[in-house]
């Protein structure tokens, strides 16, 4: 399966706007939202009730059985995540801080620590005819987002019948992004023309390089700062990165999004620009190998 991943480094540059339009334009039969921290793709795809839903369990988390605890403090000393504290004279695990390493259970001389299965989010799968959409929602304040991203992609691959998938990624360059990169054939970075946008673009490009995945770049709202848009295009040609187009600032884009539509569903300048970007991106993906 060929996988096209949409990333951005900086948040709010228009990943989901581009991804949702790509899905409509390409009539993609498999797609996923890997922004498990703050998923939005379902809002543009007219999805309400998922056909399948399951709990996502991260790593088991520690629980101290108070009746066996001899209050020696060894667990607290050994925990490198500051997840064990003393509450009313009792050693207690702060679930939000616990990473599930089980070192506390290892060092406890009285076997007072058990590792318990803990839900860390929800996986959702939408199926309609031969179209599969996989998404998830991480529980608030939870870690393990990388693991959940991997599950979202697995869920999609297990149900998909097509050989092409579009994946909406998350902002940043950390674990959910790294997990989403695994197995993708091409990354399209949606950048924005600002000093922040260009700095974040460089860091996401470096991240893609570390994992050796081919990358293309487009600019959203390019006309809000022509000078920096030119700089971004210059940066791409210098680095030998495919530059696939510019999307204009478009009031109609916000209207489409707020109506639960994609920019490809209405006649608007940004929609037309994204159509062209899609055909260039798809060509790059097909050229691969």
């Amino acid at each position: 399966m060929k996988q096209l991943l949409i990333l951005s480094g900086k948040g709010g540059t228009g990943k989901t706007t581009v991804a949702s339009a790509f899905i409509k334009i390409s009539k993609a039969k498999s797609y996923a939202d890997c922004d498990v921290d703050a998923p939005n793709l379902h809002l543009s795809m007219g999805k309400e009730e998922p056909s399948e839903q399951s709990d996502f369990f991260g790593l088991d988390k520690a629980l101290i059985k108070q009746d066996s605890c001899i209050k020696c403090g060894k667990c607290k000393d050994a925990c490198r995540f500051d997840a064990i504290g003393i509450v009313d004279g009792c050693y207690e695990v702060n679930k939000a801080a616990c990473e599930g390493c089980a070192v506390c259970a290892l060092v406890c001389p009285n076997s007072a620590v058990s590792m318990l299965k803990t839900a860390a989010g929800k996986l959702m799968l939408y199926k309609e005819d031969d179209v599969v959409f996989s998404t998830a929602q991480l529980n608030i304040g939870s870690g393990n987002s990388g693991l959940l991203v991997t599950e979202v992609k697995k869920n999609m691959q297990n149900s998909a019948q097509s050989d092409f998938a579009i994946i909406d990624g998350s902002p940043g360059i950390g674990c959910p992004v790294i997990a989403s990169i695994s197995g993708t054939d091409l990354i399209l970075v949606v950048s924005e023309p600002s000093v922040s946008g260009i700095s974040d673009l460089e860091r996401i490009i470096q991240t893609a390089e570390v994992f050796g995945v081919k990358t293309a770049v487009c600019i959203n709202k390019f006309d809000t700062n022509q000078k920096i848009s030119d700089e971004i295009e210059g940066y791409c040609s210098e680095k030998g990165i495919s530059f696939v187009g510019r999307i204009p600032f478009d009031n109609l884009a916000m209207e489409a999004i707020n109506a639960g539509k994609t920019v490809a569903d209405i006649d608007c300048p940004s929609g037309h620009a994204i159509e062209e970007i899609y055909s260039k991106t798809y060509k790059l993906l097909s050229e691969e190998d």
Binding site: N40, G143, M254, N258
Partner: protein, 284 residues
């Protein structure tokens, strides 16, 4: 007073708000916890910068002592160790530095070495002490960098924390010590959906909070209506303004170049401080 600025959705104007709130204070410390993609320093262009390297510990296997018993491999919940051929291999990138393998090894064959995972850059920009966390590219967790950033407390009245997007572990770490959380939202369906998530987060952590609505456009009331429905206090509304957008995209600090915005952010900071003193008064 520690004020955290967060948003759920990226690109709603967290950094705009955080940078400007710091600038209108008499003296402030600005802490950029978006260590994966830090941007505040691009606006402040801090002077006299100093760098502090942040390391974490990664296991090293002494092959002369290791008898390939696999206890470390079996113990590691992150699958960061594997027995390949006749060697234990450590996968640095997925190691969480819990230290368990070292404890469990019966041969004492495991020691730890420091691995660079990021840095903190500190400097000054007029009335603001600027601290920036920056992870190494390819490093999966920003949490250790954020904890190191927030551990270094200096004695100033106003501390502004610029949080990462989302509502996962990095955000939680960033708001841990906050006295007040500012939720920045934009009037889009996505903006409101993500505002709801950070609202749930600050509620769960019992943090006093208020909303700043950014990019407000007349006639689009989706975020405003949400705040009304949830009875969320709207501290300030920033109108959609192409000029503001342009200044911001060029890395200018609007409150330092535009008197109107300076007054607006000064009012906002005052409202926040009043909110916090109300909270403290009602707590005691």
């Amino acid at each position: 007073m520690r004020i955290a600025v967060l948003s759920g959705k990226g690109g709603t104007g967290k950094t705009l708000v955080a940078v400007n709130l710091a600038c209108v204070a008499d003296y402030a410390q600005y802490i950029d916890c978006d260590a994966e993609e830090p941007n505040g320093h691009l606006f402040f262009k801090p002077q006299n910068t100093e760098e502090k390297i942040i390391n974490r510990l990664i296991p090293v296997i002494d092959e002369t002592k290791c008898d390939l018993c696999r206890k470390c491999v079996d113990f590691c919940r992150f699958n960061a160790l594997a027995l390949i051929g006749n060697k234990i291999k450590v996968f640095d990138k997925i190691c969480h530095s819990c230290g368990g393998c070292k404890i469990v090894c019966p041969q004492n064959a495991i020691t730890e070495k420091e691995k660079r995972i990021g840095k903190i850059i500190s400097g000054t920009s007029e009335n603001v002490r600027v601290e920036t966390g920056m992870t190494e590219v390819g490093e999966s967790s920003a949490v250790p960098v954020i904890s190191a950033l927030l551990a270094d407390k200096i004695d100033v009245e106003t501390v502004i924390t610029d949080c990462p997007p989302g509502c996962a572990c990095t955000v939680m770490e960033s708001i841990k010590d906050a006295d007040y959380c500012v939720l920045v939202a934009e009037p889009t369906l996505f903006g409101v959906h993500n505002l709801n998530m950070v609202y749930e987060l600050v509620k769960a952590f019992k943090k006093p909070h208020g909303v700043i609505l950014n990019k407000c456009v007349e006639g689009i009331d989706i975020a405003e209506n949400y705040c009304k429905e949830k009875q969320l206090k709207v501290i300030s509304r920033i109108k959609f303004d192409k000029e503001l957008g342009k200044l911001n995209s060029d890395g200018e600090i609007v409150s330092r170049v535009n008197a109107g915005y300076k007054a607006m952010f000064a009012d906002t900071l005052k409202s926040i401080k009043e909110e916090v003193s109300h909270e403290t008064a009602s707590d005691s």
